[in-house]
Symmetry: C2
Subunit: 494 residues, 2 copies
């Protein structure tokens, strides 16, 4: 065991050497320390640091990164002078101190996303965040070439959130071995659950950081049922250690969201109490309280439980949107509403038209909807799992919708009561109707009296916005195109 | 009071003069008698006849047709010699007897429709009956010219059932006065509920007979809420007398179905027990036990009640089809699933594509679906209410579906369990999948082993049937067009 044992002033100096002197707000400040390699540092060594800014102190857990290297990552949320001091049961890692300066965030850094206005999201700097997510469950386990291609695709795509699994995936179209495994394995594939494989995590968090740099939230799926390596049926103490380690490594990335599971109810080795425990443990371990959700297969988790920040739902009955918003009093995100594609699975073969329709059904009722794509590919590179490139026709229409949504009232919209069609509004400001399969040649709308509104007819598929002449108030009849899948928007004329 | 009082042999002779000597099976044999005009014959005079064939006797109620004319109508269901004898509290109408012969039905006369094979319908002669209904609620109250046009339209249309109200209708696009009223009215519009207006009924039953001659079932709606004349809030004794009179006049028409109501739950003057009573009274009064149903607004009647022959449903959630079939163990007819059209009402503005989709969703799960059409018209002549001509694009596709359905196994199809898509089958004979918004490029089907099937891909909108080469058995993958709203049919190869 190589114990680094120096007088205090030297330790400060050593720490300062490995940490930057200044970082911008909501970026990662990292302390690197050298410590013991012998024994089992993942279990034997406890390490944390208290970060202090004026009178406020934040305690952050560190982690062992292999080869005698220990790290503590911190995401500062206030500008100015910070200091830190480490604590450890290992003397050489204990009582390391340092100071650094936090500067204003750069223009594309809006901080982490949280819930606001009950049903909506915003960045820490006040900018609204409207989730336009996509899913590529196993894209982080495909090797550098394909992973780079996925990141390039995302740069041109309308998506600002990626649902992705921490663990590799074993499922149809997903049979490749990952390059890295989260735990050391022996020749016969037996996992050593008492240790982690830092290489795996370094690679994984590198991709999370690249998403962050591209302005994309990483909706990290902590457990999932599609597994042949053992990760879906680990003992409880391993589950908990895995969660704590993952959170210690990743929580300092501002774009991280925690999703306890993909299809939690399909994980037959876990009980409901396990999921509750994972939520609580995540809540206790995360100094930044990143968003927390859990995604269902056939059975909805009770999203009204206090540790759930928003409902992450797999469903395609958008008639239930208002019920869920009302029940949970939280944002509702249809993270999976089936995938645009043509594979021989009923969840992976909906048309682009249907996908676009579902986005509008959700957004026009004050909820959010996520994308995924499953077109047959000669090398089984389906976006929904491996990433790569997009082949479908819905992303450009989702981009069109995103532009429209980004002009919505900053406080977001809520379901419009007593409506005839899916509709959302912000009272006195904004009203949106999605007519779905209805094709009225005209329709009588009712807006608040004494306020003038401008009207637009929106064709979500053709991506056109056609202003109606004049202004409107109170009860009036508006001529409509008499074709299905149109939307009508009223914005207060100022 | 002109009492016709003759010796018995003369009475027989007189009766024989007014009744035909021979009628074909399932047609209307009518006895005409002269009787009192004074007093209130509608209430004072009781009249019935016993019709006898070999050892079987059927008692049938007669009715007063105004101007001293009394009629008894009978639909014989067996060929050969029949006799009858009347009973009345009025001596001149009592004990009239006669004889007639019943001959084989002509080729287009298949008899009345009843339920068979639990979920399906058939004519009395054994021919399957697949309901392809339409709705024109008030077409029988529009005057000769429009009524003739409606009948002409039906001759070229794919519909074999018409939902129609006995009472005139007052609703949007339906403000015209009817030519006839069912009860005498004074100058200020007050109804004399102690009498009927025979002219109204003669006109109405003339149209029912014309539908019969065109091979169209008349799904007669006995009560409905859309009323300004008082018919929706008559006293209970008037309701009952109206039902008995209507049944006495119309039950002998083989194409009659009894629908207790359109949107029963919207009739605020009626209690649930009233509807139960109407059902029982109809069941007791109808010698032929024509089909009986009740159509809902927002609240489903309990169609498992024993007097309901089939579930007549207004709904557009076809996901509930299997639930209703399983619950009721009766045929399920989506008599109203919204209307193809463009009026500014959410129930009357769905696209032709959506209407065709709904027909397939229902039929491909072993249920039946009805049509209606609501396109804006300069004179407010909307098919759904007044009849006239059809403007939409769904009827020709419904005709295409009807041809396909008429090739189904004679015993009908039932929902296919464990399916991935809406699907219906008759085991070992026939399998139909409707892929709805799914667009798989291929799909693995599983049919019973050891049987060979021919496969067709059906495009319900383009109206094409494309046979797949070869035959199929057991588990196999079939290439598909990769476009939405397709169907796949497997028929046992013999």
């Amino acid at each position: 065991m190589k114990l680094i044992s120096l007088p205090l002033f030297c330790a400060v100096f050593a720490a300062a050497q490995t940490a930057p002197q200044a970082v911008e707000r909501w970026s990662v400040f990292e302390i690197t320390l050298r410590g013991p390699e012998s024994g089992n540092p993942f279990i034997d060594v406890q390490l944390s640091a208290v970060f202090q800014h004026e009178h406020r102190a934040v305690t952050v857990t560190g982690f062992y990164d292999g080869a005698g290297v220990y790290r503590i990552r911190f995401m500062p949320d206030a500008d100015g002078a910070w200091t830190y001091s480490t604590s450890s049961n290992t003397p050489g890692l204990n009582a390391k101190t340092g100071a650094f300066n936090v500067t204003r965030p750069s223009p594309d850094n809006h901080g982490p996303v949280t819930v606001r206005h009950t049903y909506h999201f915003g960045y820490a700097d006040g900018t609204p965040y409207y989730p336009f997510g996509t899913t590529a469950y196993a894209w982080a386990h495909q090797g550098d070439e394909l992973e780079s291609q996925t990141l390039a695709t995302l740069r041109a795509a309308p998506f600002n959130k990626m649902r992705m699994c921490v663990f590799p995936k074993d499922y149809v179209y997903n049979q490749n071995e990952p390059k890295f495994y989260p735990f050391p394995r022996d020749a016969s594939g037996v996992n050593d659950y008492t240790r982690f494989n830092p290489e795996f995590f370094r690679h994984f968090e590198g991709l999370v950081r690249k998403l962050m740099d591209q302005g994309i939230e990483a909706d990290l799926i902590l457990f999932h049922p599609y597994d042949r390596w053992g990760y879906a049926k680990m003992p409880a103490d391993v589950d908990d250690r895995y969660l704590r380690y993952t959170i210690a490594r990743l929580a300092a990335f501002r774009n991280v969201w925690w999703s306890m599971a993909n299809e939690w109810d399909f994980m037959k080795e876990k009980k409901l109490s396990d999921w509750d425990r994972f939520f609580r443990l995540t809540q206790e371990s995360d100094p930044y309280q990143h968003l927390r959700s859990i995604h269902n297969g056939a059975i909805l988790y009770d999203h009204s439980k206090p540790w759930v920040t928003h409902a992450s739902i797999q469903h395609d009955d958008f008639n239930r949107t208002v019920e869920w918003l009302t029940t949970y009093r939280k944002p509702v995100v249809f993270d999976e509403c089936k995938y645009e594609g043509n594979i021989p699975r009923r969840w992976g073969d909906i048309s682009a038209q249907e996908m676009v329709r579902r986005f509008w059904l959700g957004f026009a009722q004050g909820a959010y909807v996520g994308h995924g794509e499953t077109y047959i590919h000669p090398q089984d590179i389906l976006w929904w799992s491996k990433g790569g490139v997009l082949h479908g026709q819905s992303p450009q229409r989702i981009a069109f919708l995103r532009k429209i949504v980004e002009q919505w009232p900053e406080r977001g919209v809520v379901p419009f009561p007593n409506h005839q069609f899916p509709a959302a509004y912000r009272e006195g400001e904004f009203y949106l109707y999605y007519l779905d399969y209805h094709q009225p040649a005209e329709f009588e709308f009712e807006l608040p009296p004494g306020m003038k509104f401008k009207a637009d007819v929106i064709d979500p598929w053709e991506m056109t916005i056609t202003p109606a002449p004049g202004t409107y108030e109170g009860k009036f009849t508006l001529k409509l195109p008499g074709k299905p899948y149109q939307a009508v928007r009223f914005v207060r004329a100022r």
